[in-house]
Subunit: 444 residues, 4 copies
Amino acid sequence: MTTHKPNSYFKDIEKIKFEGTSSDNPLAFHHYNPDELVLGKSMKDHLRFAACYWHNMCWDGADVFGQGTFGRPWLQPGEPMQRAMEKADAAFDFFHKLSIPYYCFHDVDVAPEGHSIKEYTENFARMTDVLEAKQEETGLKLLWGTANLFSNPRYAAGGATNPNPEVFSYAATQVMQAMNATKRLGGENYVLWGGREGYETILNTDLRQEREQLGRFMQMVVEHKHKIGFTGTLLIEPKPQEPTKHQYDYDSATVYGFLKQFGIEEEFKMNIEANHATLAGHSFHHEIATAISLGIFGSIDANRGDAQNGWDTDQFPTAVDELSLVMYEILKSGGFQTGGLNFDCKLRRQSSSPADLFHGHIGGMDHMALALKKAAAILQNDFLAEKVAQRYAAWSLPLGQSIMSGKESLASLAKLASTNNFNPQHVSGEQELLENKVNRILFG
Amino acid sequence: MTTHKPNSYFKDIEKIKFEGTSSDNPLAFHHYNPDELVLGKSMKDHLRFAACYWHNMCWDGADVFGQGTFGRPWLQPGEPMQRAMEKADAAFDFFHKLSIPYYCFHDVDVAPEGHSIKEYTENFARMTDVLEAKQEETGLKLLWGTANLFSNPRYAAGGATNPNPEVFSYAATQVMQAMNATKRLGGENYVLWGGREGYETILNTDLRQEREQLGRFMQMVVEHKHKIGFTGTLLIEPKPQEPTKHQYDYDSATVYGFLKQFGIEEEFKMNIEANHATLAGHSFHHEIATAISLGIFGSIDANRGDAQNGWDTDQFPTAVDELSLVMYEILKSGGFQTGGLNFDCKLRRQSSSPADLFHGHIGGMDHMALALKKAAAILQNDFLAEKVAQRYAAWSLPLGQSIMSGKESLASLAKLASTNNFNPQHVSGEQELLENKVNRILFG
Amino acid sequence: MTTHKPNSYFKDIEKIKFEGTSSDNPLAFHHYNPDELVLGKSMKDHLRFAACYWHNMCWDGADVFGQGTFGRPWLQPGEPMQRAMEKADAAFDFFHKLSIPYYCFHDVDVAPEGHSIKEYTENFARMTDVLEAKQEETGLKLLWGTANLFSNPRYAAGGATNPNPEVFSYAATQVMQAMNATKRLGGENYVLWGGREGYETILNTDLRQEREQLGRFMQMVVEHKHKIGFTGTLLIEPKPQEPTKHQYDYDSATVYGFLKQFGIEEEFKMNIEANHATLAGHSFHHEIATAISLGIFGSIDANRGDAQNGWDTDQFPTAVDELSLVMYEILKSGGFQTGGLNFDCKLRRQSSSPADLFHGHIGGMDHMALALKKAAAILQNDFLAEKVAQRYAAWSLPLGQSIMSGKESLASLAKLASTNNFNPQHVSGEQELLENKVNRILFG
Amino acid sequence: MTTHKPNSYFKDIEKIKFEGTSSDNPLAFHHYNPDELVLGKSMKDHLRFAACYWHNMCWDGADVFGQGTFGRPWLQPGEPMQRAMEKADAAFDFFHKLSIPYYCFHDVDVAPEGHSIKEYTENFARMTDVLEAKQEETGLKLLWGTANLFSNPRYAAGGATNPNPEVFSYAATQVMQAMNATKRLGGENYVLWGGREGYETILNTDLRQEREQLGRFMQMVVEHKHKIGFTGTLLIEPKPQEPTKHQYDYDSATVYGFLKQFGIEEEFKMNIEANHATLAGHSFHHEIATAISLGIFGSIDANRGDAQNGWDTDQFPTAVDELSLVMYEILKSGGFQTGGLNFDCKLRRQSSSPADLFHGHIGGMDHMALALKKAAAILQNDFLAEKVAQRYAAWSLPLGQSIMSGKESLASLAKLASTNNFNPQHVSGEQELLENKVNRILFG
């Protein structure tokens, strides 16, 4: 991979380098300087960028209303394993030229699913060998692996929540294989996204039964992790709907209740996707801050939705203002542990040239790097933390402490309030002032 | 109350009676026949209708863009306690003429809040006496009481989640008074709706701290309930936003996680409001079925939103199709226990005549009664339950039982699937067929 | 087609017949009785039902997250024209057994598009012969034809609004062929839906230029219609977005302004789709009533969206309440002229059996028939029209007439108002009363 | 107004000055430097900022769920004209200290509406004198005036679209008075916002009749403008809903069709509000670009909505990225003529200190100034215009010109395409590349 392949799909693209803000080269980083230190840690270690296999390598630009527009050679008809090899070549060529340290995949992204469990298992094993070799060759690392339990028709009614226990078993097979492969490839996390774990209509659905199935499935995942000694993090990726009418892992708060019910809240973190947050009626910032406040934040699928379109558009992240607040929350909470920033992003269907794949990711990486720098700037003179500390200061005083320590009752507080004729007045929240201050850091 | 008040605001309205479907009288029930038996229980006992004090008696038709249009006499300027008495007269005259068995109120709906805790307490105590007398006189019962922790400016930044512990204490005072009054008036439930328990901007908010405050507050509510021997049900009413940007009691699934965190999931049920469900991105049917599946369903605020308008329109329920499915879920789960159907509904601002208050409620009661009859009709030959039973049947067979009993692992299932070469095929979910069958019952 | 094909895909389905509400047969009509008279006209002539080629015959159940689940034999790999013939056999077998009088198609639904304009033209001509023969054989008629200007990659940036005039010319070629075929097959309308006539990003888009292109294109369509003597109606189908970020034919009101700008408002009517209305932020009822009020109502794509999902779900219509109001508006305006009710509906992806195609349409037809009967019932004692007449009655009195006839100015009215000390009071709009009355007709 | 009032409500605030980006003073401008030249014109002349009377001076922080939190002294109970005088004092003190060149008002913002047309007229006349004196004293100018046809209960069912012609006449009276006052005060525009010109339910509404009324009303406004010689611009402000279920002036494209129908498209421009755009399902950028492309762009109500809340939150604009694109469109189209940037913004209800009013506006002005500078930076090396020019270049070549000049027909193009075997290929739209380039200018 260190040599330039003259006939590769990306033959016209050189390895992307940092050239700084003065450069006009669109095929260079202007803000992402991997080894530049921010708050004493390199950008690369802060951001832990990953590119994904599926949107970049497995999608040809088709949508519900039209055929593919990209014409990727490895997606043309052909012998499946041969095409999978070509796809892996293209993928690692792309990852390498993009100078991105991590990648992510589903089992069936990298290997043909075949026509039986046996074929699936063999194909996946062979391709795991290929990936292992390519990782070694390039130095690329695996941020996380996962299993696709939603594309094959057998999963039309879900994987773990399917009415048919044989489908549940098939799903278990895939997850086991994908977890094993992830461990072998040194993956730092394993992700579960419940693509069709939800319902199309309540009329034919037993909500309690399906929830029990999903709970048991997740417990098995935990048990398998410990059995094989996988030391990475298990991640659940919430999404409210699409493809189903309603998905059980609606958002972080919903998943938290689910984890508590099945006693596995210490075993899972969240993989938060920006566009899933907005589909659920939340801002990206909200979902990150909520997961952190619940102690279940893990990793990010960095992308964005369209504020006017009601489906998962998976665009590359550009909103540096919100991204800065997201990075601020993450830095304040100690930064990524095993998680990172995976670009779960699709090109627009009209962006049909090979270079567009680079433009999308370069933008994503530069905008996240900018967000990191802006977040660090806020932290260095943290007026937000100061405002919060001052606003809740009274909770460290005797009355507040007495309440929170469990010493007070409604009656004791009522007596206190009445005796002292409490008449508390509202104090300005100063939202506009804080917004101005944030924007002054964002725009200098 | 049994005598007709010649000068009352509702003097032109007679007590509403059941006249059946052949009657053309708009001021009569056409479907709600209180003592008619449905599945062996009277409609009245099934439906447990309540009217609310706030929208009917405390709102004059004002909205954000305009002044009141209703001209209710008891809302004109005047001596507050005198006006509160007139309001109570009008309220009970209205409830009585509406032939509704229950009502609901906030503390400050019925009594002036005064200018101090002392005045608040005295006013509320006097009005509790008045309500008690009126209940006795009319036979009306209290479905639930609650405290308003959102209208007074002191609650601009929340009640239990306020940065100021004195506001928390004020909120505790009101809730204690309202719980005590609810107990004294024989209320069958006590409701907590977190009007401003949420945030306007994350910039000045400590999510974890506010959640801890809310958790402690709810624990105090539980402790007080047991201390005073209140035997009714504690209810939390989820709502996702409005008035705040985001409210912590977003939806049933979110509240479930909250209850689990603070160890109070056995102490609370949900009061589900239709319009809150839709603001949260769910159907009303979804929220009901979800709460039932989690074992936390309690009561209903029956109304509807507008599918095109993004705020709480609180319209009277008219969608018999969805209401029938809601009643089907409730009947299947055993029916209301202490809960009931409270009309948390506002007239449209243009519906300015006294009769409109009756039209709204008569429609609401008739549509719910229709929904009850339709639900009973589904239950009597329950093709939905049959479909569900058949669809999940395999979970009662050995493989399914082995999985759910915890005997299987990912590895054991993978081995089984591989050995037996599982190749499960999707079976039609028959959604369209089920929808047709439901509609044939709805429309005869 | 009158003989039963023993090996057809639909071999287990008999021709669907009306059996009335007492029948339990799900493969029968319970309300749609083609020759039953409603307000003196047969249901068949009122409703003018059509089934579509695309969702029924060209879609195999794939969505963005998964492969097809239906397994239609004619969609398997094979020689394109052979498959097109098999598809036509299946289509007409289906239409015939469904007892539906009309169908609709896109050019490339019925014929392979080939690899050149020549192949496209020849394939389409051959299949037009086939369709003509099948129409004759079965008595089926064509409600409308159209051309697909959105699926082929050449249309990624639009058809008429494409930056490349050669694409515009290709689009013109297809529309000409499709209009000619529609005329030859006796089609009663010709539809234009601007699948990708919109933008993905304003950054690379010249809104004015694209609008001019679309305007000129539509003028050409009008000119061609007159040139070939097509006597059917030209229809534009509004949709706000999807697949593009924004589509120029956003809704009826938007299209009206477009038609006025290019002087073609007398030449086009609207084909209103329910799910497109809701994606545009309107109710279906709104779009129908608006188009009628602007004099541009033409035809309907009957389906429904999901109130919680933000994309075009194209479900079969079930909401008899709203459908009744839609039929009421249409009946009041004189009923369909050349238009009709086309089911632009997709099965749910889980509804994978051949029978499901029938269940979907039987439900759709029965629900529209019910809506027709309910609408007729409202009309027979039209309290809605009466309320409206009474509400606006003053506009027929001298002041109202003087204003509307253009005799008054702001100044003359100000003088009149001041001299007479006008103090008009709001009168109740009685919305709840009207809603109750409508529901009493809907539910008896 | 040039002297400092020691007891004014804003006594702690000094006149806001430009201090540049290095200043830490939150009560200073950091980007808005009125006389700084951008593209050869002063910021002040580019931006034409206005503050509004209503949100700043007439609103006390009440919302649907709670009482006012601001405690503005001039809004306390008192003699109406006395309070109006105090309000005007506070308003001009505020405007002056804010260093904003323009203001805007509704008739009843500035004068008590009284209890009759006579009182209304007299009060408004007296307050117009007051405003005139204050304008002279301070140098403040009027960007636009308007009339409030939605707050008084008489307008519950609309102003111009009311079923009662006397209400129409009352509305005409107010608009005449407000237009006359606007002319006298040197207002540069006159705005019409149809607060309740829409419907609550189609059941009681005659859409065609109401549209005709609105059309005639707007024609009268045009006639009156010419009669009195008002040389400013007439502006319509689109909004899709709220307070009504649906408003007729839904968005720019809808209003364009309305203007065309009544032949007044040359007489009106649009006053585009950001939050109204988003409520209508559009981006702010879209509405601006659309109005410009239709030749009807006039002025802006600068604010923003909340992407997760479905009502008009009217927050101060902070999104410099979108604002830059908006300013880019405006600069490219020649800049504001008579229009300007009015802050139709509300403080958050928790922002209860006098200083918050300044923080909101300072932020708004600074963010718009930043947007102006960023837009100018794009224009100076306009890669967006370059991309657009190159993308549509073929429309200037023979085929494109022939099509647009009307020389071609569907048939002539089909022949050309067939003869030349057109096979046009999609070319990348490079959306991600353009987004990156824009962001590099936004963030340096």
